[in-house]
Amino acid sequence: MANKIIYATYDDDMVLLEGAKKLVAKGIHINDVFSPFPIHGIDPVIGIKQTRLAICGFIYGLIGLSLALYGMYYFMIYDWPMNIGGKPIDYFYQNIPAFVPISFEFTVLLAAHGMALTYFIRNWTLPGIKARNPYPYTTNDKFVMEIHPEDSDVSIEELTKQLNETGSIKVEER
């Protein structure tokens, strides 16, 4: 068996989800699922862990907050204190209320853009990258399961039979 990959197409997300549950219960490992929209509930079935993107976002936000506070301390208190209408300029803590808006904006700026960049790199979606979905219809109205038979120790014939039983409309090996 020279590393064949089986692609099973479904025309309904719920049929695929039920089918995936049955196959996994029989010990078949589903490598990936391609769909035109998120299928809710598929992740735990095929063993996909919740992403840690939000934790990254939090860290980027903290970096943004510290940079903003340090920058304003440096510009306004340390490097060149400016007396503007007698507003306090001697100590950082006296000036903090006026620094709240920019601290907030900069936190959001870094959190959002940092997360977006991480998201693009982790998904490997960047300009000029070729799409890897097996069929063009997976971005329109069909749902495809990708199974590597050698991972679950099952013959292609047996797998095809099982996939057809779950309601797949097309099973193809590549």
């Binding site: 976002g57 060149w80 400016m82």
Partner: protein
């Protein structure tokens, strides 16, 4: 699967399948532009070109070509700036705040509302930039290392907060919008057959594949960006209002400004969304997706925010008397009865009185009437900013410098120009981009689609 009560009205009308949603939404992208599209595009382009001409004349000659004078130093420029920023608030409110509240009706309108936001914020940013006069020195607003004796920008000033707020708001909204667009660009990429469009959409889609892990990350980033964008929406217009509220001008120096400006922004933003979508659903045959129910929901938001704005107007008026500050009282008496009384009463009629008619269900579900009202609100909200800015300035402390503001053709031309550029961008969006979020609409088809609701009953 998520179940929805049968009595709740469906959000997707007719017997639709996943494939049909794709076909319906992508029809204008795949097909040819209609004649009405070309006509509207042509008019907008002429307006845009005239505006660009006026802006170039302004930059070449100086802001003396505007009708500003010694007393009225801010007039149409900042009026237009605040008007556009306000319009730019609906998109992120719809996509972020309504996402956090799990309001599914936002899905038919969020994509175009966000596009509108981005274009409106771009038009807003034009105004502070050109009102500087010497636009080539605009980089002075950023804290850049320099050789003017370490001259830094003033971080205590709301004008600088505005620089950070607007640029953060613009760039975060853009990223949020684009991340949602990527899977839909992938749909177009896999759908079109001609070589050049396929290449362009495949570049735009960043090689999106739509595997399970990518969708997992997609949902996470959408949620977190919505969480970040929600306070951002409120902060941006609060900061815009502080440009006025922190200066010691009677009529500006009020603590009510931040909430009053934010609700005014949402009010005007929803009006603009209605203006655009009522035309778009008709021209692009999207009546099954942008239904009367959606229009009704938006009209309800208009009543709520319009009423908040009304309460703010009256509170402001009451406090000007109750404060006992005679300059403050005069500013308001002058607004209502002085030479600019017509602007004040236009604002009051358009923003406070007229939206109250939406309490009648017959009127808020009437498309033609809603369209008319959305224009009225847009005009009213422009007058609100004009009233705040010009009537507070034109009679200052020294009666000998009292004056009126008269716009020149350059004032008018620049304003018409930004409207033109805005519509050019929006029409290009409607022609080449997926105007409804395909991937999100498909997720609600089974819970909120009409034929699935019938099966459940």
């Amino acid at each position: 699967m998520h179940q929805e009560a049968a009595i709740r009205e469906p959000l997707v009308l007719g017997e639709k399948t996943y494939g049909q949603i794709t076909d319906d939404v992508l029809a204008p992208v795949v097909g040819k532009a209609s004649r009405s599209w070309w006509i509207v595009f042509g008019i907008s382009l002429v307006m845009a070109l005239w505006g660009i001409g006026c802006i170039l004349h302004l930059l070449g000659t100086g802001i003396g070509t505007w009708g500003l004078n010694k007393t009225v130093g801010w007039a149409w420029d900042i009026t237009n700036f605040v008007w556009w920023v306000g319009i730019g608030h609906a998109g992120t409110l719809i996509s972020a705040v309504l996402l956090l509240f799990r309001q599914k009706w936002r899905m038919a309108i969020n994509r175009s509302a966000e596009a509108m936001t981005i274009f409106a914020v771009m038009m807003a940013a034009v105004w502070p930039a050109i009102h500087m006069g010497r636009i080539w020195l605009a980089y002075f607003v950023f804290p850049l290392p320099n050789q003017f004796g370490s001259l830094w920008v003033n971080f205590n000033s709301p004008l600088l907060w505005d620089v950070f707020a607007i640029s953060t708001y613009f760039s975060v909204s853009l990223v949020f919008w684009y991340i949602g667009l990527i899977p839909d660009f992938a749909t177009i990429r896999d759908k079109v057959t001609q070589a050049v469009p396929k290449k362009i959409y495949s570049l735009l889609s960043f090689g999106w594949t739509g595997n399970a892990k990518a969708w997992n990350r997609f949902e996470e980033i959408s949620l977190v960006l919505a969480g970040l964008a929600t306070p951002l929406v409120f902060s941006v217009h609060s900061i815009v209002s502080m440009d006025f509220a922190t200066s010691v001008i009677p009529g500006w120096h009020t603590t009510i400004f931040p909430p009053y400006f934010v609700s005014g922004a949402v009010f005007s933003g929803f009006a603009m969304v209605l203006t655009l979508l009522i035309i778009m659903r008709k021209v692009m045959n999207l009546e099954s997706y942008i239904t009367i129910k959606h229009i009704e929901y938006m009209n309800i938001v208009i009543i709520v925010t319009g009423s908040i704005v009304g309460v703010a107007y009256l509170t402001e008026l009451f406090i000007s008397w109750y404060s006992g500050v005679e300059y403050e009282s005069y500013a308001f008496i002058n607004r209502a009865t002085g030479p600019y009384w017509w602007a004040y009463w236009a604002m009051m009629t358009c923003n406070v009185i007229s939206p109250q008619v939406f309490w009648f269900k017959k009127l808020r579900t009437n498309i033609m009437f809603t369209f008319f009202m959305s224009i009225v609100v847009n005009i009213g909200m422009w007058f609100e900013r004009f009233v705040i800015i010009v009537t507070s300035l034109h009679r200052d402390y020294l009666p000998s410098s009292w004056t009126m503001f008269h716009p020149t053709y350059v004032d008018i031309g620049c304003f018409i120009g930004t409207i033109g550029i805005f519509f050019v961008l929006f029409l290009l969006f409607a022609r080449f981009f997926p105007v409804l979020p395909l991937n999100e609409l498909k997720t609600i088809l089974k819970s909120s689609g009409e034929q699935y609701k019938k099966i459940d009953e």
